[in-house]
Symmetry: C2
Subunit: 420 residues, 2 copies
């Protein structure tokens, strides 16, 4: 709880990283009134009812929800199961068959396992919009549809583009923004959050609420997160993501070693993936500018914040230590043996000393460093393989005795051969 | 029953007077199949659920429904109560408040009293579309709306005009044609009839039926009837109508004396307001062309057909006799006394012989032939008033004794003074 913040600080904390805030003055007034009355605001966010597999891109929105919770407000995690129960009513999309009630409930559980890594469970209400949209009935839907104009609908960019390009828009597509808007009426939402692509739909809710005797909701949107490649949006299909449920060590490796974004992307990550106040991000930026912090330091800092939020501080420390050690091994592969420790992220293969000599192409392939023994043999001959820091070129290897032998292939693949 | 007609005659009988038949070849095929199987066609026609007060303009459609019944088919008189129960969902029109179930049922009774003057009750099913549209529910409505494109909707002329003129079209207005189309699905209609203004909506039904595994319905439209003035469409608000429930005598007077249409309108009336086959209308037209029938004869013939259908042949004969006698009186006002009869359509005023002399301006005003006694006095002085065929100019009148005295003001106002 950060209720000790001034109203200005609250506004800045909530607006941090947002693309749209419609409207900031109304948000301020609602926050002021909430503080005076002690009545928390209702913050609504809609989610797709299909099976979720969340990554850091999704946490930008979850974190914004959490920011409201940090200030004492109530978040409705709204699962849009009404449309899920319908599926693709045109029957054209094979990927959108109707979901059963059981599937939707199972998906809700999957959501909870992931989102409660960010959200405060006790301030989160998980709800389903079929509760009220189903009850609307034929008549209610007609009445709802009477609240918006066709021309207003065609102001939505994707509708307009399809209409102008003479691509079909089915009439029911006009009903979905209205159904989403009605969710805000049913929940009497004070605020609705969403991605920038949701701006039109969120504003439909704003538009129709006064007709139901409600104050229009505040609409706030967050941007899409760029992926680890620094180019495309973060997405499973681009492989440039960090999954919310991934182990701390995998997260640490991805954020420190796989991140390819430039400085701008790094600062976006600080803004969108941490709870740092804008002023705190500015301090880091200044330290980086003075050279007090290196780019690598920044990655470690960022990874520390992100992993601590998702796995706890202790897990974050261990994961980062592991990455740090891997980096040291890479710089000086001998270090591992001198230290005597075995970071568990290092790939390990175990052999019996009694079975020496060993086929090195086989060991390299077992470690996953080469797709085949012939490719491993090629790398050996090219001199790309080192054991305990020494280049090896022979295909057979006889260790001096049982022990742990670090092996590197190229500059980035680090493994350990445990000879028992 | 006219099932002895050939298939060609059936097609001509049904298409007579229609503006659109979509499509004539399919209609023929359906008729053929129905005759072969003995299964009657289902002919659907939708009516507004608001209180009906039908005039001859409405009978054009009712008569087309009857033509199908004449050939042995089944008509669904569908009352669109689903939209009636909603009223104007925008709340803007004070003239379209939601109707109660009781009001709709009462209106249905009012319809029956009128439409069964034309339709065969035993081949008519009165139904209500709230039965299935209400049951569709939120999900069903979304699915239904997925069956049509926004661009297709905007092909409807009035939508396109409003869209181009930037006048608002509410989204629910797109749902009504789909709801009407779904009625055809629910009823498995073979044919839907309507006014020409309904062509688009009826075709939506045609369009969506194959998606439900049904053969597309045949769409047939009838034109608007021109009113007695021969200019505007027949309408209560223009005062140029003949009401379906009006007495036979009033109908006869309106059709014979008040009709101002030219020959073309008269032949439209024969086509649209009678069951004459096209060939029979042609025979009348030829007789008129040869001078065997006068324009007045045609009016009497037409009125005879129309009134006989609505009030029976005997009532039609009496009503026309009455009009004929009025016309004779007009030509020779003395005729009435000579005949000794008193047609009840003639306006009558009664006075006591003992109170003579009478104020003629007062009598003329009492008969409703002048708005005031001063205007009546003016007409008397101008020589426009005759009693028993003689011009009168004095303001006082002393009848020779008790009796019935026809009085005419100008050439068209004929009344009777009964001196007792």
């Amino acid at each position: 709880m950060l209720v000790a913040m001034t109203l200005d600080e609250q506004c800045a904390y909530l607006a941090k990283g947002c693309v749209d805030v419609v409207r900031a003055d109304e948000l301020r007034r609602k926050l002021e009134r909430s503080r005076a009355s002690g009545r928390p605001l209702t913050v609504k966010v809609g989610f797709d009812p299909t099976a979720p597999d969340l990554h850091l891109g999704h946490t930008v929105l979850l974190r914004k929800m959490k920011h409201f919770q940090d200030l004492g407000h109530r978040v409705i995690f709204l699962i849009g199961d009404f449309t899920g129960l319908i599926g693709d009513p045109t029957g054209r999309s094979k990927t959108r068959p109707p979901l059963t009630r059981e599937e939707i409930d199972a998906n809700a559980e999957t959501y909870k396992q992931q989102v409660f890594r960010i959200l405060h469970p006790e301030q989160t209400v998980v709800d389903f919009n079929s509760r009220w949209l189903g009850a609307l009935g034929s008549e209610g839907f007609v009445r709802l549809a009477a609240r918006y104009n066709v021309a207003q609908m065609l102001e939505r960019r994707d509708f307009r583009q399809r209409f102008d390009a003479q691509q079909p828009i089915k009439v029911h597509e006009f009903l979905y923004p209205l159904a989403q808007a009605y969710d805000s009426v049913a929940l009497e939402a004070d605020v609705e959050l969403g991605g920038t692509d949701q701006l039109f739909n969120l504003n439909v809710g704003r538009d129709i609420m006064p007709g139901y005797g409600l104050e229009p909701q505040i609409v706030m949107t967050v941007p899409l997160l760029v992926g680890l490649d620094g180019v495309e949006k973060m997405s499973k299909s681009y492989g440039n993501y960090v999954g919310v449920n991934e182990p701390a060590e995998v997260m640490a490796r991805k954020l420190v070693e796989e991140f390819k974004g430039d400085d701008a992307v790094m600062w976006d990550y600080f803004t969108l993936l941490t709870d740092l106040a804008p002023a705190e991000v500015e301090q880091l930026r200044a330290a980086f500018g003075r050279g007090d912090l290196s780019a690598t330091d920044l990655r470690f800092r960022l990874a520390g914040f992100v992993i601590a939020d998702l796995h706890g501080a202790e897990a974050a420390r261990r994961a980062l230590d592991s990455v740090r050690r891997r980096q040291e091994i890479r710089i000086n592969p001998g270090a591992l043996v001198l230290e005597g420790g075995t970071p568990d992220v290092v790939v390990t293969t175990r052999v019996r000393f009694s079975e020496a000599p060993f086929s090195l192409p086989r060991l390299v392939t077992d470690l996953g460093f080469a797709p085949s023994t012939s490719e491993a043999a090629r790398q050996l001959k090219a001199g790309g393989v080192r054991i305990a820091g020494d280049k090896v070129a022979d295909l057979k290897w006889s260790p001096p005795g049982p022990g742990k032998y670090p092996i590197t292939v190229g500059s980035r693949k680090v493994g350990l051969i445990v000879v028992e």
